[in-house]
Amino acid sequence: MATETTKAESKPVETVTVKVDGVTVEVPKTTPDWQGNPVPTTILQACKQVGKEIPHYCYHPKLPVSGNCRMCLVEIGMPAMGRDRKPILNEDGTPKIQKGVLPYDPSLPRGAIACATPVAPNMEIHTHSDNTKMMREAVLESLLINHPLDCPICDQAGECKLQEYSMEHGQAKSQFAETKVAKPKQVDLGPRIMLDAERCVLCTRCIRFSRDIVNDDALGIVERGSYNSIATFPGSRFENNYTLNTVDICPVGALTSKDFRFQMRVWFMKEAKSICTSCSTGCNIVVGSRENKVYRYEPRDNDAVNACWMCDEGRLNYKWVNREDRLTDCIIRERDGNQRKVEWPTLIKELSERLAKAEPGSVAIIASARASNEELYLIKLLADHFQAITDCIPRQGESDNFLVQADKNPNSNGARVLGVAFSEMGIQIARIDEGIESGKIKTLLSFGENITRVGIDDAMIGKLDLLVVSDILGSHAADKADFVLPGAAHLEKRGSFVNGKGRVQKFQKAIEAPGNARADWEWLRELVIKITGKQPADNLPGLFNEMSASVSAFNGVQWKDLGDLGVDINI
């Protein structure tokens, strides 16, 4: 795909000259449609390209055009054509423009829907003329007459297009003097979605998303006219793994997430750009939190990864961050079972003293492909120092033919390019197990993995001189470890991952880690300094840049180059 676009760009872009609100502009003749195919540029796209937003409900750049809401109606003018099919010219030589009027009532404008009408040479587009405003107000009035206006209890309030456009384009008062149409207000569409049919503006975005993007023709409209309602087919449920995206694209508060409804007012939330960690796709997300509590994930646009979508499973996989069994204390444990809670400096000091005694070749490291690149880089420095065997534990699951990958680790490729894991992830685990059994391996460092899952039982732990466990949640291994280092979840730190397709993407910190839990890279760096004498950078961007300079796959990419959307590297 990337090569195709470069090819297209190398040709001079054909343009069309149009006038937007009196200003002559050139716009490309074609613009990508919802699937990225070039199609004749529409009025809406043309206006967007010159910085003019045309209000719309049903249009969505990633969905097929439907043209049903009529909110985007604009007044247009076209060059008048003579009998000879040539444009009629004004005295000054400019083409004479004929405003679009109704053939049966020339006193009224014939609007064009901006979302579906292609631009034509010398077309005049009026995004704010009196006629355009009049048509817009009328559509808004129609949408509002049967709308319940229950903004005070609506989850969408604050990010609602109906509220927004009513403020910008609506009339102060409605003339409606009839009774409103009553529709069901709590329709259970599926396990994660509730519909309030009265709030729905019938834009069909949800229908088109499920049918055309997910290939699940699950939603439709029942009843006629004003009684139209969104519904599932009788006996079936709206339950594919992408249903929550419809909550994002629903321009009003008709579709709500059962997980999020009534939990939090959107304007109170703080947002952080992050990455979903539930599979190797690495969908870009925005994390919404308040007072250190995460309330929701929402997909963030990235055409190279997830467009503007994410799966439900990934979206809802955030609650563990607030779990009761989070590790929040640094613990040093004696073999007799006595344990001490200590502060980080004590822990690092004692740990580095113990590790310094380890013989080269007697150390194994089981790292996690859920750790960041920067952390894996530091782990690799330690591993090299000890000539340690390293690996990560694979997580395999189901994939689909949309976003979800079978590899459930977010950073498998990071672990690979950094040399901590190999093409076949987990291939070294058997060697590590053997090494422990045979007594060759005396020290085991485990980062973010429950090693009992890969056969390291109490008997084997008993054979070790030193077991170091760094993790976020408690585990059996953590209960047995000589050193326990409480780690931060990815939401609680910065870092980068390399996704399944080789895109390096960064994530920002959304909330603070609980108790003494701390981002691994911080203490790993201290450990590396103490043990190897090296001096890795003391800040995350610096660490990334240092890693990038030393690991060829990263090709010298700088932290700042990652931007919000990441960069492809060779994996």
Binding site: V65, S66, G67, N68, C69, R70, M71, L73, L102, Y104, D105, L108, P109, R110, G111, I113, A116, T117, P118, M135, A138, V139, E141, S142, L143, I145, N146, L149, S174, Q175, F176, A177, E178, T179, V181, V201, L202, G220, I221, E223, R224, G225, S226, Y227, N228
Partner: protein
């Protein structure tokens, strides 16, 4: 003397005429098809040749035939828009959804002379290189569907359908598809969606012009039953000869459905423009006038979506004078020639050629409430102005007829209707708003009288209105 001119319904009502193929053939049936299939390629200038198909299309263009379904669009022109280079199959659809209130003409053909339609379709399909055609018939015509299927089977047995029709090398299949009972299925793109098995939501144009992106996204022709029958006669008579029927630009014959308060409601086939609206209502050859003691109040001239004409209304129309020059003359609504262009000049339309006559016994607000209830029920609900506006108007009118009118309701209704027309996906928006706009404009006093009747006494708020209007 104004009289009927029967071309399409020439035989249908003859005693003993039956819908089966033998009867049809013994009356000259399928001769036009044979004639069409026998046409040879014709040499034209520069050594180029015209295919038989092109020649038939030329005949239809020459005939001046305009669509009988509602819009009156030139049939020849419509056929000329078909994308013949896409490499995709071209489909022909016969629109037999006949749902416009007041209209009952297509059903005469379907029930009494189905082979005429089949023959017209085969010729039209041949002319447009169509190998698969459909008849989309309204769900409420179960018997019509049966008769059509029987006719198709008979035609197939005689070799008029199927492979290599009459040895010409031309293949055609026609299927009957029954609608599921919604007015919007008659709108051509709604019909196409319905035929594809979906909800009949009309498509946006651009980009979905049927001639390019129609059925299954292939080039498609949608024609009304009567239009396709006319094609058969155009081939029989020749386009130029057909064009002599009727009046210039308004050629041929039309079947008018006359209903309402006339003595002889029914269907009448006339030469287009040769009979006036008044003659259709009052002449003994047609409606035969109103009931005793009644006077004319209003006429809907082209199906319920056409704008109403008020008795006594006058229009300025261009007419040729003795020397053949055009001059503007004042014409009473009853003197409007019944044709496409004259009714359009009078601000309304001949639509589906259904005339609904109202005498002075009707309550005009009741009539409009009835019409609007139909449109509120039939709006498909896809686009905002029509979905919300159609029911809104209907609710307001029901309020008026139940004695809860307000002084401002005439203006209120006009406001709603004005915001529907021209802003919607399909012409249903006009269909639902035009009756309201025209009734309210032309009978304003009656609407205002309904409103004034229940004005609250001075100082006393109108509780009903206030409570619901507050939001």
């Amino acid at each position: 003397m104004p009289e009927e001119f029967r071309l399409i319904l020439k035989k249908a009502d003859e005693p003993g005429y039956t819908p089966d193929i033998d009867c049809y053939m013994s009356h000259g049936g399928y001769e036009s098809l044979k004639k069409a299939l026998a046409i040879q390629p014709k040499e034209i200038e520069d050594g180029k040749t015209k295919t038989p198909q092109e020649q038939i299309r030329d005949e239809v263009m020459t005939s001046g035939l305009r669509g009988r379904g509602g819009a009156g669009f030139s049939c020849g022109l419509k056929w000329s828009f078909v994308d013949r280079r896409s490499g995709k199959p071209i489909y022909l659809i016969c629109n037999a959804d006949e749902s416009e209130p007041g209209t009952f003409k297509d059903r005469q053909i379907i029930h009494k002379d189905p082979h005429q339609l089949v023959e017209g379709m085969i010729i039209s399909a041949f002319a447009n290189d169509v190998n698969l055609a459909y008849i989309y018939i309204r769900g409420e015509f179960p018997n019509g569907a049966k008769l059509l299927n029987k006719a198709l089977n008979e035609a197939r047995e005689k070799g008029f359908l199927g492979k290599n029709i009459l040895g010409s090398g031309f293949d055609l299949e026609i299927h009957v598809h029954r609608g599921a009972g919604a007015y919007i299925c008659g709108e051509e793109t709604g019909l196409i969606e319905s035929l594809e098995g979906k909800r009949a939501y009309p498509r946006i144009k651009p980009p979905f012009f049927p001639a390019v992106l129609g059925l299954y996204m292939c080039p498609t022709i949608v024609n009304n039953v009567e239009t396709l029958c006319a094609v058969r006669h155009i081939i029989e008579m020749g386009g130029a000869e057909y064009a002599k029927l009727g009046t210039p630009r308004n050629t041929g014959t039309r079947i008018v459905s006359l209903s309402g308060q006339v003595k002889k409601p029914g269907y009448y086939e006339i030469e287009v423009g040769k009979v006036t609206l008044g003659e259709l209502i009052f002449h003994e050859n047609f409606g035969g006038g109103l009931r005793e003691g009644r006077s004319l109040k209003a006429v809907i001239p082209g199906g319920s979506s056409a704008k109403v004409l008020k008795a006594g209304e006058k229009f300025n129309m261009k007419r040729p004078n003795k020397d053949g020059e055009m001059e503007s003359v004042e014409v009473d609504m009853l003197d409007i020639p019944y044709d496409f262009d004259s009714l359009m000049a009078a601000g309304t339309m001949s639509g589906s050629s259904a005339i609904i006559v109202m005498d002075d016994s009707v309550d005009i607000v009741d009539v409009l409430a009835n019409v609007s209830a139909f449109y509120a029920h039939e709006s498909c609900g896809q686009c905002t102005p029509c979905r919300e506006g159609s029911l809104w108007m209907s609710k307001a009118l029901n309020r008026l007829t139940s004695g809860k009118g307000r002084k401002e309701d005439a203006e209120y209704l006009t406001h709603i209707a004005t915001n529907i027309q021209g802003r919607t996906i399909c012409a249903f928006g006009e269909a639902s708003s035009w009756p309201v706009l025209s009734f309210v404009k032309k009978f304003k006093d009656e609407f205002e009288a309904k409103g004034a009747a229940v004005q609250p006494a001075e100082g006393e708020p109108n509780k009903e209105g206030a409570a619901t209007a507050a939001k």
